[in-house]
Symmetry: D2
Subunit: 386 residues, 4 copies
């Protein structure tokens, strides 16, 4: 089992076979820094496809499993020094809960794609089980892996912009402007099927990223939401657009909008935080800079890699002007999780920087409250448990 820093940890993957977008990204990300090496897989819900996909990726035959249950059993039978150090779950949302719980209860650290689960009940049950198990858990809210996002959080914590007043977070895409789910596009199909995705469409898929970015950078809790959800594409079952008013702890507020029918938008996740002494802007599509404005009229553009004496530094690999992107940010999540796993393996907890089970639960609570408000004529709705 991996405890040193040189050898990659062994990773099992559930889901992510052929045609799966996010599984391939996870594989690139976990490998970039030698954090993990893919060692075992149950890559499809169809056993034959599962095995075939694993072989295509070069996995050993005996670790190319037909189902995640077989992988769990098979790995547990191996001696600890050979067993996978962690599992990563990249299946449709509704299956996360059962898989994640089984591995966590077996003591195998879990990285789970977002949103944590498709229902709040599932999320609460899973969170309780994970806490009880004390097994490391990571939720892959990858956008918080960007160095300048980490520096933004650092600036907020250290008072650079004063008390947070009003935030604007938006996540706009255009790829669902037509009814792709009827055109055999797999990504679109499960995302717009309530049975697989849960009650939220765009709000669950990309809204949960926006929520996590907002919560992570501000460090504030979302207390109440009022939401307007729309399915603009005729016949679509889940929302493809959502606008949300947010009341956060203290007197801070936010406006959050997500839209997946915004033709021409690629993957526009943007965060603006306005405090009483200054402001921050960050845009995922140009992630290597962070703009900071202050009351004295100064607007500064900070470049990744400049040396900030903040968590941005260790999350950065290259000097300014050498763009780092999506995969690098994702890899930072895996690097943080690898640190957590090594500490767990060594029996000395040394938690790395990555979103955990609480981020996952909070995200599902947020989506749940937004969907309830949306169904209830945009009435102000408290997050469950608050």
């Amino acid at each position: 089992m991996g405890t040193d820093n040189h050898t990659p940890l062994r990773l099992g993957m559930v889901g992510g076979g052929k045609d799966a977008f996010i599984g391939a990204v996870h594989r690139l990300a976990c490998r970039l820094d030698d954090s993990f090496i893919l060692t075992a897989g149950a890559l499809s819900s169809t056993p034959e496809k599962s095995v075939a996909s694993a072989r295509e990726l070069g996995l050993a035959p005996e670790r190319s499993y037909g189902t995640w249950q077989q992988m769990l059993d098979g790995e547990l039978k191996r001696p600890r020094v050979e067993r996978i150090d962690a599992v990563t779950i990249v299946t449709p949302n509704h299956t996360h809960a059962a898989i994640a719980r089984a591995f966590a209860e077996a003591g195998i650290p879990v990285a789970c794609d977002k949103p944590l689960t498709s229902t709040l009940a599932d999320a609460q049950t899973l969170a309780a089980a994970v806490e009880k198990s004390k097994t490391p858990f990571c939720v892959s809210y990858n956008y918080t892996g960007y160095p300048m996002v980490r520096h933004a959080a650092h600036l907020v914590r250290t008072g650079a912009i004063g008390a947070v007043r009003k935030c604007f977070v938006e996540y706009h895409q255009g790829w669902l402007a037509t009814k792709l789910e009827d055109a055999g596009q797999k990504q679109a199909a499960w995302r717009n099927d309530p049975a697989q995705a849960g009650g939220g469409g765009a709000i669950g898929d990309i809204g949960s990223h926006a929520e996590n970015l907002l919560s992570t950078v501000t460090g504030l809790e979302i207390e109440q939401v009022a939401a307007d959800l729309t399915s603009f594409v005729p016949g679509r079952k889940l929302d493809d657009d959502a606008a949300v008013f947010i009341r956060m702890s203290g007197t801070a507020k936010a406006t959050l909008t997500v839209c997946q029918v915004a033709i021409g938008e690629e993957n526009n996740l943007t965060l603006r935080i306005h405090g009483d002494k200054g402001s921050l802007w960050w845009r995922q599509e140009e992630p290597n800079h962070l703009t900071v404005a202050t009351l004295d009229g100064m607007t500064k553009v900070l470049a990744r890699g400049s040396g900030f004496q903040s968590p941005a530094d260790s999350a950065s690999r290259l000097p300014p002007g050498h763009p780092e992107g999506f995969i690098e940010a994702f890899a930072n999540i895996y690097k943080g999780f690898a640190q957590t796993v090594r500490g767990f393996n060594a029996g000395k907890p040394t938690p790395g920087e990555h979103p955990g089970i609480h981020d996952g639960l909070r995200g599902v609570r947020f989506v749940d409250a937004v969907v309830r408000s949306g169904k209830n004529n945009s009435v102000w709705t408290s997050l469950d448990g608050r």
Copy 2:
């Protein structure tokens, strides 16, 4: 009286004396194209200051009036060939109604700053009086004077982006991030005094511009709003931040946000319109370009001055790359109003392109509904009269 196109029309001004920001802008704008020449003025509510300001601007002593009533009387006594062709009102909101009504009923065309009035009752009374008088009326929603805004409206009308689905309009500034109204800043003081500004702070001041831009470009009617209003600066009497969900005619929706405590934001009025065939983006701070994206994956950047066979052409003075700005856009409003006034003078109505009394009334209805929703826990609220 002016009817030809060569001689500037004679303009009287109410308000806009020393220290007034917008009065000076109106003077630059009306002069740029020789649309109007400032001929008479009642520039302050203090008669002595009024006369002194007029003299400083080089107005004739006999047309440097102490009050607007004196100006109205004085001008009406002049023969029609000498009399002012129009009056422009740039006083605080709460005084618009009485002044505008008096001039309109006297048959003197009126250009009135936005918002039309400080209360809905005033707006309705004024609108009725103006309609009855048949006197030309202009409301200076200056942002619709930008050539690329006019081209955007043309593109929507001619189907370039299909049916409008979701719009995002935002108007963010930072200049009220501190309590300037307590620091003797005149612009801040009246804008945050409910007696002068009306029930809306930021929503009345800049939100009404955002509403007009949205309505003008889409050509759709706003039917219902749900709003969250906030005064972030402690002790401030009116909102300095507002977020609004909007239901428009048909199935279109919009999210509108205004904020005047967004440190670092200069005058960020941005409009994004997403239809079922394409999208438009326009940003006031870089007004010479319009981005158009379509379902086929093309994103084009259109430059003012390129020749579009649309109203953008006549609103443009210079070739691409020679930036036109705020004053030029404002001048286009005056140019359109001058055309209306010349037609009125000639007895042959030839309405120019400029916002009118209906735009003004609709704007006040919008602000009124937003303020009512805000006071009523963000409940969905119909615009009065709908």
Copy 3:
């Protein structure tokens, strides 16, 4: 004759009739701030057109002259209190010298379009005559009227970026990518006719602007040039592209490029100045901001209208975020020239901020040296007189 600050000065115009681009711009610019009012004109080289154009612009019949000589004679016969206060010359380059000299020697202040003349001999003769006459003289290098250009010059003078090392100035356009001069396009025709334009094509037309911007902001003298000139469009008589190495006073250098066949470029005049303590960037197409970078790693974006205690302040009319553009910058040149003229009229020299006869002569010297180097296989060539 105008000496106070309230009444516009009276301006005569030579050239600038129907179809002339730059004449109309001059009229907008001189009027914006009430600096000048167009009072007399000899607007075309064809007397009938000249008179007709003047009448279309609303000039009095008796001041709608057929030729510039008639205008000079006619105005000199008027009493000084009615006579034009200045003349502005917006004819093709080769005619500037004779017209400008005649008015200057008659004691009528001259604003002359750039480049000053089409030959160096003409420029030298004219400069000598102007100096002898002591008549105010302005050359309309309009780009130096931008507030942020003036602030850039201020920052260089006050040491903000240390000693200047290397500058990059480029002026790229695309409108001459095809042989427009054969297609009856008047602007293209005279610019590519050596008899009218002089020895330089792009280098004379836009290169002289680039030179003036560089010289004005750095305050350094250009001593030597090495140039490569090209006519990319087959059959074109003058250069449509030029690249120039520049040695300036001290150890500073610059690379200057102009191109008029750069399809897609609108009017891209960009200046970057690198000193030993910091750098400045400015781009004409987004003229309201200036970027300043310093050795400590800070990159700041300065917004026009922010209050700099520099010449940028008085050249600015509106707050940040309210874009000012080409006409406003041009108007600043006329405002400066008006101040000079008022001082001249009052017998108390109070020179305003505008380029003068020395800028004009230096510009022609630059173009002459560049053309000589270009014809001599890019050999390093000293500017005449250095």
Copy 4:
């Protein structure tokens, strides 16, 4: 030995130990797509450091070599199925020739950092030896690995912008604005030592990248150059700024500028190509988009990942809006080289897309001619061999 596509090839590395910037980048890049796995190393010119660095990276003790000669001998003694499949050379320029030649002549494929060598004589000798050996050779001009650079080359080849007229390529940085080489900065020290770097400073270091980008995208040959080289930092031995006029095959020209004292510039490599039918713009710091302008006035922004049916597609891993950066582009070079090596191993040449020995030689020829012109008062100078 690796021939299939699943197993990473075995890579040896020369240079790139502790404190070396580019070595770490090569390791990230070769690993990203499982193209190569680092298996052996001679990471420093000091044998003790070399071994220690290798151990830190987790290399096996028996493949942690003290010198590159030991690595070459040691690996040749291993059976072919264990031996490294390729070597990558990331040492200072002056050592490339001997190392690369030894490995190539031993039949071990070579990836060599740019510039190929520090002298033209070395480059010519090496190129002859490599050609004779028929061993695969890659020069890591990494910027040509960007998908949108490959698409730009595709657009030029397929006539999208017509015949190339004028190109502008610039590569500006600020990190050498002070005399870092005297401050113990290792990267600065060898780059400014003629014995290690060769005759070119900035022109060799980053100018060779600019040349390769220009040549690769246009597909044209550089025939003559005229150059002005400067060392702005007092006491610096090599140029830190260079401006070059370029005559290319046919009638195309280019202006190329490099500068390493441009404070505030991060890693600004920009290419603009103007043809007689259209233009292309690409900027390394925002590498995911390519702007294309055409004669009809259209300016389009193309996004990586959109599907172009060009080499951009296979070089792209993620959808639009998910930024890919420097490492991903670099990894594309290694992916291409891996394909070449697998073909070589299998005895069936299947050359991948990567710069080769001819690119390397051409780059040195370019730097040599530029340096000669610079020393000879900027006289036009033919590239050796043309």
